[in-house]
């Protein structure tokens, strides 16, 4: 029994160490000026996409529901964050504190949206959630496209389809959020990833996470031992929405303007691709997939016109490789060997 606990502990520790090591290396390289400008510009989006992938994995991998509108929650967070940082610029001059405030409020706003979408839909079975979340993502994009928010003398004005608001426009309809103070930093992105990891990994390995996985594995059996579907599916869905909202704030505060078009259906699918390629239910895989697949198009710039073609080919190759029985066997044999050596070492130490 000890074995399982320690295995889980090692697994999580490896994930944390991987993230910390990657951060330290990349940060040192950045400070030393070894990264190209385009790559430096990609660092914060990578962090945001990693958080998106981890949180979507909570819904798809752990609770077993397909969500196709994850970018919708990201955009709710992004635009809420843009309004919060702009309206609090005078009240909270310190950008770090303002950023944390924006993330909290953006997370809550996305979480509320998660409840609104999740409560009616998670009662249904099958692919309904996928369809409704897909619709939600599109609806939210269109709503933000005709949303106008302005601030005048410390008061916020909100209207739809009517740009004639008093004061300075913060969100200007189809032009999106304007004049955002670029206060996202790579360190904050790293902190958000660690926060997300703590929330998701600890939730997974707790009583509630077990209930989610039980419902995923066998709903009828889970109900027979008194585990309610809606509560735990909603718990996973709303937690993921909150985290996506926070990722949205991080993402938006990296640009001076942000439009709703950034959070289209493509973005939701992209995040789903990270989750599927990294392995459904595999958090570490999501992190690696999100990081590599976000950098890849940048690295492929030298291919010019063939960039997306190469990108697609790489996706297909990875998909083939991860589904290859021989490779899988080789991998598990390698793991077993590593594990038995670890056990032997432990046994030796005990003696």
């Amino acid at each position: 029994m000890k074995k399982k606990t320690s295995k889980e502990f090692i697994n999580n520790a490896v994930t944390y160490l991987l993230v910390i090591a990657a951060f330290l290396i990349v940060n040192t390289m950045k400070e030393a000026g070894m990264l190209t400008r385009s790559l430096t510009g990609q660092l914060i989006p990578i962090c945001a996409y990693i958080v998106m992938a981890i949180s979507l994995n909570l819904v798809v991998g752990i609770s077993g529901e397909l969500s196709l509108g994850h970018a919708g929650f990201m955009s709710v967070g992004a635009f809420t964050g843009a309004v919060v940082t702009a309206s609090m610029a005078a009240a909270i001059p310190d950008p770090t504190v303002r950023m944390i405030m924006a993330m909290i409020i953006g997370g809550i706003a996305a979480g509320i949206m998660g409840v609104i979408v999740g409560v009616p839909v998670l009662r249904l079975q099958g692919d309904y959630l996928a369809i409704v979340t897909l619709a939600f993502g599109e609806i939210i994009r269109n709503v933000i496209n005709c949303l106008y928010v302005s601030m005048d003398e410390g008061r916020l004005f909100i209207s739809f389809n009517d740009p004639s608001l008093p004061g300075k426009l913060l969100i200007n309809g189809p032009q999106g959020a304007l004049g955002i103070s670029k206060i996202s930093t790579f360190v904050m992105g790293f902190a958000l990833i660690i926060f997300t990891l703590i929330v998701v990994l600890n939730l997974m390995n707790s009583r509630n996470g077990r209930a989610m996985m039980a419902l995923r594995d066998n709903r009828i059996a889970a109900e027979s031992v008194g585990i309610g579907v809606t509560k735990y599916k909603l718990m996973a869905f709303v937690t993921a929405s909150v985290l996506a909202g926070m990722a949205g704030v991080l993402y938006a505060m990296n640009y001076s303007t942000i439009t709703a078009g950034k959070f289209k259906f493509d973005t939701s699918i992209l995040v789903l691709v990270f989750v599927v390629l990294g392995g459904i239910g595999n958090i570490r895989g999501s992190i690696i997939a999100a990081a590599i697949l976000t950098i890849l198009p940048e690295l492929l710039r030298s291919f010019n016109d063939y960039r997306m073609l190469v990108y697609a080919i790489v996706l297909i190759l990875v998909m083939l490789a991860t589904n290859n029985e021989h490779l899988k066997q080789w991998g598990s044999a390698f793991k077993r060997r590593l594990f038995s050596r670890h056990k032997a070492m432990k046994g030796g130490a005990e003696e």
Partner: protein
């Protein structure tokens, strides 16, 4: 107590109910009356009456397709009965769902095993303990002291329950990788973990060899004696049914055709005809 007596009669109903003597005068753990269900005009179960005593081991037998598993599904509210009432320990289940029925004290196993296949044996049992040992979501995420304390208790309780079937050594294994017999036993442990008053076993000996079946019989008796609960089982293995059941109900085409002790059932001509086929000259 006297008030309760009035609401749930101590006199077994219907009068042909068979309850062990030690359970007479206590409230029955299950009291199903005139239970019936129709699927698109087809009567799968019709006028089913059954009372089970608090520590009784009851058997439900009948030919394939007689409606035995449907009865389990009705009791656990997987299906809602079209007619009739079910009282669990005196409480009417008319407005309950499967989850509430489990909380009211009924746990079950399935004919086609339904484990959480990708999770460990211990986690399967811990899911059974889910509603017994609680801590909040925040406690779990922040890993507060209550988390460690409850998880430790859960771990100990899970191993204790697994030890009923000598399965504590398998705790770390993946449930789906266990041999068939062990999966069946794990399902019983998981059901027991929810702390039921009545345990419903759907063909617990299916796929077991005679030695495993004998062991299972001992274990069912042990469970009843240790936890002081009632057990109701569907089973085709007559050795098991006749060996441990105190009361048996025979179902055919959705209706009870006989009720009685194992001896009475074995010599009931209606049962022999429906269940075993007509006795021919020369058969022992």
């Amino acid at each position: 107590m006297s008030e309760r007596k009035q609401r749930t009669p101590m006199v077994p109903f219907p009068s042909d109910a068979i309850i062990p003597e030690r359970d007479l005068g206590t409230r029955p753990v299950l009291d199903a009356r005139h239970l019936g269900v129709e699927f698109g005009g087809l009567k799968a179960v019709d006028d089913f009456n059954l009372i089970i005593g608090r520590t009784e081991i009851a058997g439900l037998i009948g030919p394939n397709g007689a409606g035995k598993t449907t009865i389990f599904n009705l009791i656990t509210k997987v299906y809602s009965p079209t007619t009739g009432t079910i009282l669990i320990d005196g409480k009417d289940t008319a407005n309950m769902n499967t989850i509430q029925v489990n909380k009211a004290g009924i746990a079950r196993t399935f004919q086609n095993i339904r484990l959480f296949g990708k999770m460990s044996v211990e986690d399967n049992v811990k899911i059974g303990l889910h509603n017994k040992m609680k801590y909040s979501m925040a406690t779990g995420i922040l890993r507060l002291p209550a988390y460690w304390k409850t998880e430790k208790l859960m771990h100990e309780k899970a191993l204790e329950l697994l030890s009923i079937f000598d399965m504590q050594d398998m705790a770390g294994a993946i449930a789906g990788s266990l041999p068939y017999g062990a999966q069946r036993r794990l399902e019983i442990v998981r059901a027991l973990a929810t702390g039921p008053k009545l345990l419903l076993l759907d063909e617990p000996a299916a796929g077991m060899n005679p030695a495993e079946t004998s062991e299972l019989m001992e274990n069912i008796l042990k469970i009843r004696d240790t936890f002081q609960i009632a057990v109701m089982l569907i089973e085709h293995d007559m050795h098991l049914v006749m060996g441990i059941c105190e009361g048996i109900a025979v179902l055919n085409y959705g209706s009870i055709i006989a009720k009685g002790t194992p001896e009475q059932i074995q010599s009931n001509p209606a049962v022999i005809e429906a269940y075993l086929g007509k006795r021919k000259e020369g058969d022992a």
